[in-house]
Amino acid sequence: MLEQLYFAMEVFLNGLMAGVLYALVALGFVLIFKASGIFNYAQGVMALFSALTLVGIMDGQVPFSHIINATLGTDIHHFGWHVPALFAIFGTVIVMVLFAWIVQRYIFRHLVGQEPIILFMATIGLAYFLEGVGDLMWGSEIKKLDVGLPQGINDTIDQVTYEMFGYGFFIDNLDIVATVVAVLLVIGLVIFAQYSKEGRAMRAVADDHQAALSVGVSLNFIWIMVWSVAGFVALVAGIMWGTKSGVQFSLSLIALKALPVLMLGGFTSIPGAIVGGLIIGVGEKLFEFFMSSSALAGELFGFTISATENWFAYVLALIFLVFRPQGLFGEKIIERV
């Protein structure tokens, strides 16, 4: 029984770590939604695209090499150099800022004042477009991403817990790094939004466009900035997920897991995205552990279910929608009649 408890604790901790990764994706959604009212379906694809670009730059891949080779009859694939991770990350940030500018200049500038559903549809289009561009630019095979983050079991925790409880906890080093990075990122974002000039302007735009214009804030500039920041958050998420499970196109599907996170945390709250992510991460891991264990669910209900991780988050989100539609931290929606 004690063994079971320790195992449950380990599952809980791992759930927290998984939750951090969900929260990272959800964070990108919240940023754009707050500042421009756009629900950005493409956030997951942005994470994928940034990870692809990062790998491509690091490995010295030639962008669009398939098209170039097919039209010119050449056979080039690599420049033959390797770029250090830090420079490659810097390069990817520049690409994401450029992407933000293009998105603002060619899509959303023309859709100012449109219905939210139209903006949402535009981001769906953007998602598929970006996925296609990513494929054309960097190829569709699964790539390994290694920016030098530590991976594998953390031996210290394993040993210490073994000596204390007689049971070694399995915690992945990468998960610890991801947690630290996510915490730093959130602190940074909150300070930026609360105290910097650009952050204040961002909050102003989020609150009232007309009023923001009247105090001399350029909406265009703020929107480009917000998309850039969201691109940066996507890059961080892309690095973590890519390192964990390889850079592959199914990465864009993690965006769907961010949806229940947002329903829990609220679409407009940065802390909400974090708490929501953690609840979903822990909830689905513990639920899976409980329901699939013959000693627990088997004893209690007489049956076990497995693979609950696929649907648990959505069911939880549905329950939340019934009882607290604005999420844990979202702004309360009051309609006066």
């Binding site: 300070i191 609150d207 009232d208 923001a212 214009l213 009247s214 105090v215 001399g216 804030v217 909406l219």
Partner: protein, 272 residues
């Protein structure tokens, strides 16, 4: 008739300078509807200039043209004697022309102090890095901006609600917060779109007093739109009267009071 650079002293001892802004043959159309038809008038430095007229006369449209929210199809705006290129609203604000809105455009989610502080956004020049490490320029600017904001908050007597979220304030106070946000940017021209709309007599008196004080204390040029004829006549140095997009009168309050076209527009006229 005064020359555009000449200045004069009013009865109550304020000095009104030369022309700072001039509207020249402005025409604004929305599709087939002509909102403003060939209107010209000027605003002198340090004066309180009122734009009045019945509903739908095009007053708000005129203010929107000045503040860059609307682009007129014809005519030009001269600022300090030079034709102003077509600017976006935020660029107009950066030139030192602040405004308030008829339907109040405040940041509802922020406190009064935060709202007022947004009025200082354009006065912050420190780079992001300086702000992050909170050194040198950033620190100095922030302290200075905060001082200015507190001064204006004191001036408009809204200290007691400094930390209250704007969404919880009554209408009259919201109007005053909006004025504070416009004022804190130390504008050279202040545009007020119906600053007294929907207020009771007492609130109107308060607002009138603040407008006069602002003009007196800071020497701010004020252009305002107002429905209430009595208030306008007491407040303003010169009045433009609009009706159906056309200018039907322009002059001192006493000129306007005796202008037959204005009387007709306001009281109606028998068509026979």
């Amino acid at each position: 008739m005064l020359d555009s650079t000449e200045s004069y002293v009013t009865e109550d001892g304020r000095t009104i300078g030369g022309v700072v802004m001039e509207m020249k043959n402005i025409t604004l159309r929305f599709g087939g509807v002509v909102a403003i038809k060939d209107i010209s008038f000027d605003i002198r430095e340090g004066e309180i200039r009122a734009i009045i007229g019945p509903n739908g006369a095009g007053k708000s449209s005129m203010l929107n043209v000045i503040s860059g929210f609307y682009v007129p199809q014809e005519g030009e705006v001269l600022f300090h004697g030079k034709p102003r290129p077509q600017l976006r609203p935020y660029e107009v604000a950066q030139q030192g022309i602040a405004r308030t809105f008829q339907n109040i455009a405040l940041f509802e989610g922020m406190t009064v102090l935060d709202n007022v502080m947004t009025g200082r956004l354009n006065k912050m020049n420190a780079g992001l890095l300086a702000q992050a490490i909170w050194r040198g320029k950033a620190e100095k600017e922030e302290i200075e901006n905060r001082e200015k904001a507190e001064k204006i908050i004191d001036f408009l007597e809204i200290q007691h609600i400094r930390k209250t979220p704007v969404s919880r304030l009554p209408y009259g106070l919201k109007k005053r917060v909006e004025l504070a946000r416009a004022l804190v940017s130390e504008p050279s021209i202040l545009l007020l779109d119906e600053p007294m709309a929907g207020m009771n007599v007492e609130e109107k008196e308060d607002m009138s007093r603040f407008i006069l004080d602002v003009n007196d204390e800071f020497g701010t040029t004020i252009a305002l739109i107002e429905h209430d004829m009595g208030v306008v006549m007491d407040l303003s140095d010169r009045v433009v009267v609009m009706d159906y997009g056309k200018k039907i009168g322009d002059g001192t309050p006493s000129d306007i009071r005796n202008n037959q076209a204005v009387i007709d527009a306001y009281l109606g006229v028998a068509h026979d």
